[in-house]
Symmetry: C2
Subunit: 393 residues, 2 copies
């Protein structure tokens, strides 16, 4: 019999290619995480030594409890939990503070999972307009809050703004937003899916009440994995424990946290995240060099006539949106492979991760590439341009 | 510098021991799942070929979409999704059908995550009392529904009953419950965390509207992983897509399912679940032999004077609760290692997974042991009894 799984190919793009996929580089496993996956792959592998009070984040062996404390410290927050992806963090927080008829302020560049978390709670998103440089400022958030107040008669229940957005990789004025949030007494969730784990982030210093991050996006961890970190005040709310009592049995499960669904991120994913943590702690210190590399790349990329960078410049993040409508797309219009000509050319040069077939606006991410790879990448784009008669100056 | 992760030991209990842990055996990885973990460990590994409409369960390469269709067929349901654990399935379903002030009927043996899912939705659990053989019957569910109606003036919004419960591993009258649910027009979620993946289960044949199962408990998959399967009617509700519209940008993310938080179970966990699927399909056919083995074991175990089986007899599941208060606990009372004497003795015999130190009521699971291992296990308990002067007849 033929099984579906026979069609699953062995994935080797990280071994065989330079991968510029917009969301993959920060979630590439460390060798330590790979070892952890192998040792802790079995379903309930983290539960061997689960003892009272029977909650994952309290387990001492392996040292899960100690890791949670270190993780909170690393993020400059009081408490941290791991969850199955940043989206589950948004869901937990929104469900804790907002309900039907409530408003949640989000960015005009908010990730769709923020929309879903708000909708799941029965609340409504209220988007903050961007300023001229496509960023969210504290001032614009304040104006939006006033608008919501006028329109609904109530303050929003939560401000959820991205530290760096998924669309342009722009940095938003999260310190300014935090100040505004404090003034209005509204909690501020800083979506740090694109920052914690790749750059130094201190939630307390930002002034955020809650940080939500992603393991598989930026913490060299398998999917799904995510992080919720909070100040003491908000930890008490988001990590509140169950009060439900069985009406027949009188059962209570007092230690279990409602929004975490009791035990949070179990198994191999958690241990892999723990295993990558020493590397992550070190790598965030090298963020300035990552920024230097993307700025070198954009400089070279812009030498191709017609190329544009849609993200803010100079780059402050490796995730970058480019526009090649007036360069590679012109080639695509007359090429028999259409936009796939660019994918073909990149693939021939062992480069992968662009959105196959896209030659207008598309995203790339240079995180983790060496200088040699960066130079090779920039040169490759110039070579392709040259090959098709696009001028390089 | 010393890192927390240095204290993570290499886990080898499945290689070195006979593991009778109550919740671990069904989630032991297949070799195919282990290979999948290694190949797909990186964070966004499943997203290499994500194309329109940009949703995980629609991805064709690897054949994730095809797998979802096969999975639904395997469970006798119309639609299936993968989620980060059965608990996230309960959460999705309860959030879809119940809200503040609503009631959800659950078993008096309901798992705590069912309580949490109900509490998260603002609803209240209403427990069905057990009959004399510690099982939930359709009749008792009907009585409970009437009770809820009298008390609150409203019918419950959901009936959530375990196929086999986590406490005793007893089989509950899910077909009877399904009939009652139909009569009242209330959806029936059959919690199949202990059944799908280890025994043949057909949701349509049971009459369930929704099945929720666990990958890491019963599907030879890493944690977290779970399954939600539903009939067409309930799939439309539980897997409903987002309606939220950005008030500034007009953005919509129409294809994304709210309760799934868009993309569901990504990465290595999904591919490992897919990789174990051919083995799972075959192993469920061998369930009768698994039942034979546990019944052989209990027969031998009961030869130890004072031993009791607290689960229903004969056993219909390998998860079994035993009572050794009048055998091993008597030894423990005068042993310098107290209850740990039993763990020590088992460990010396390369047996692990009992609750260390427990000698009164405790659980074990013989799933997946060979006949040789089963005989060795039974003999070991008898040997330990003999060594400490507990009679074996």
């Amino acid at each position: 019999m033929k099984y579906i799984v026979d069609d699953v190919e062995v994935r080797a793009r990280e071994e065989l290619f330079i991968n510029i996929h917009p969301i993959q580089p920060g979630g590439r496993l460390t060798p330590e995480a790979m070892k952890a996956l192998i040792a802790y792959g079995d379903g309930y592998s983290t539960c061997d030594w689960c003892r009272k009070p029977f909650r994952l984040d309290k387990i001492q062996r392996p040292p899960i409890a100690e890791f949670h404390a270190e993780l909170a410290g690393f993020l400059g927050m009081d408490e941290a939990r791991v969850v199955p992806g940043a989206r589950r963090g948004f869901q937990a927080v929104v469900s804790s503070v907002a309900g039907p008829g409530d408003s949640v302020v989000v960015s005009s560049l908010a990730h769709y999972t923020e929309f879903l978390a708000v909708e799941d709670a029965g609340a409504v998103v209220k988007e903050v307009p961007l300023n001229q440089s496509n960023t969210v400022t504290g001032e614009n958030v304040a104006q939006k809050i006033e608008g919501v107040k006028r329109e609904t008669g109530k303050l929003p229940k939560l401000i959820m703004i991205d530290h760096f957005d998924y669309m342009l990789g722009n940095e938003h004025d999260v310190r300014g937003v935090a100040k505004v949030a404090k003034e209005y007494g509204i909690p501020f969730l800083c979506n740090s899916a694109y920052s914690i784990g790749v750059m130094p982030v201190n939630g307390m210093e930002i002034g955020a009440d809650i940080l939500v991050g992603s393991g598989h996006k930026s913490f060299a961890s398998p999917a799904p994995s995510g992080i919720v970190a909070a100040t003491k005040e908000w930890a008490d709310k988001v990590f509140r424990t169950t009060q439900m009592v069985g009406d027949v049995t009188g059962r209570r499960f007092g230690i279990k946290e409602i929004e975490m669904m009791g035990c949070t991120l179990m198994g191999a994913n958690l241990i892999a995240l723990m295993a990558s943590f020493p590397t992550v702690r070190e790598r965030v210190k090298r963020w300035p060099e990552e920024v230097e590399k993307i700025n070198y790349f954009t400089k070279e990329f812009l030498k191709i006539q017609g190329n544009l960078i849609l993200s803010e410049m100079p780059r402050r993040h490796t995730l970058t949106k480019v526009d090649t409508s007036r360069s590679f797309d012109k080639v695509a219009q007359v090429h028999k492979r259409r936009g796939f000509f660019l994918s073909d050319e990149l693939r021939d040069r062992r480069i992968i991760g662009e959105f196959a077939g896209a030659t207008r606006a598309w995203k790339l991410n240079t995180y983790g590439l060496t200088w040699d790879q960066i130079r090779y990448l920039a040169q490759s784009f110039q070579d392709i341009a040259g090959k098709y008669g696009v001028e390089v100056v």
